[in-house]
């Protein structure tokens, strides 16, 4: 991203879980590649595997994601170390959104509802690609929108 504040503007990082921002970016590229293969081949077990990867990142913690492990083992040693940190909470939330789409897509393909499989996978691909190429976190941005749309449901007492 080109619009990061300059280092002298950075405040001391609070003691919250944080990640090297290049890790999630690398993971987003891998996810993009995996989802492209899924769409081209329609091979749903790969999508189910991606769902497991999403679930590990979202529910267990980012460092348990296999892509994070790959980043640490293969990519990070070749990069210059950085002090730049990113809050882990938004990234985990986005992984959770990805998990939802991946599960939906896997079910669609597996149960023969190919249209559902394709559309759900395409949504996940869109989110992953926007994140990889532009550093734009669709899951994080959509949070506000989803919340706004849920106002109506809340009024009739539906828990969300």
């Amino acid at each position: 991203m080109s619009e990061q504040p300059t280092p002298e503007e950075a405040v001391p990082t609070p003691a919250r879980p944080s990640v090297d921002p290049r890790g999630p970016r690398f993971a987003a590229w891998l996810t993009t590649a995996v989802l492209l293969v899924v769409l081209f081949t329609g091979w749903w077990p790969l999508l189910a595997a991606q769902a497991v990867v999403f679930a590990l990142g979202a529910f267990a913690g980012l460092r348990f994601s296999p892509y994070a492990a790959l980043f640490r083992a293969l990519v990070a040693p070749r990069l210059a170390p950085t002090d730049e940190r990113e809050d882990a909470a938004p990234v985990r939330f986005a992984q959770g959104v990805g998990f939802g789409f991946a599960v939906l897509g896997s079910l669609g393909y597996a149960l023969g509802v190919t249209g559902l499989g394709v559309v759900a996978t395409a949504f996940a691909l869109a989110a992953a690609f926007l994140n990889a190429a532009f550093g734009f976190c669709l899951g994080c941005e959509a949070y506000l929108l989803i919340n706004r749309l849920s106002i109506k449901q809340r009024k009739v007492g539906t828990a969300r």
């Binding site: 504040p5 394709v118 559309v119 691909l125 941005e141």
Partner: protein
């Protein structure tokens, strides 16, 4: 075959969306305070957090799941600290979708520049560009 077409279409669409978003990011837009001759004040919840001593308060709207919000917070609090008559405050919209709706905010961070009367002068979506924001604020600041 359909899957392949959808894949290519998705990538193309996202490339366009990404470029548009990148171009719009941090741009200073006109506020929603004055439309024609009628002057509209921001909602009471926002007026309550304005700094009465400041000519302009930068009201940053954030959510928990928002990395650029953190960058914006650092930038704006620094800017407010160095600029006379400028204050900075942060409202967490995570559990307040009603307020997001009342303010017509779709994404975070969005920053509103609100004057002491509660009129929204400017708004910025995304991480503001420091110099652009300062230039746009200049006419509303003392001295």
């Amino acid at each position: 075959m359909t899957g392949a077409l959808v894949a290519v279409g998705t990538l193309l669409l996202c490339a366009v969306v990404g470029l548009v978003l990148r171009a719009r990011n941090g741009r200073v837009r006109e506020g929603r305070g004055s439309r024609g001759t009628t002057v509209e004040l921001v909602p009471e919840d926002v007026r309550a957090v304005l700094d009465p001593a400041a000519a302009v308060t930068l009201v940053q709207l954030s959510t928990t799941f928002c990395t650029p919000c953190r960058h914006t917070r650092v930038l704006l609090s620094d800017l407010a600290g160095r600029t006379a008559g400028l204050a900075h405050t942060d409202i967490d919209l995570t559990d307040r979708p009603e307020l997001a709706k009342a303010l017509s905010v779709l994404r975070t961070p969005t920053t509103l520049a609100v004057d002491a009367h509660g009129v929204e002068l400017l708004r910025v979506g995304g991480v503001p560009k420091r110099e652009d924001l300062l230039t746009a604020l200049r006419p509303h600041l003392p001295g």
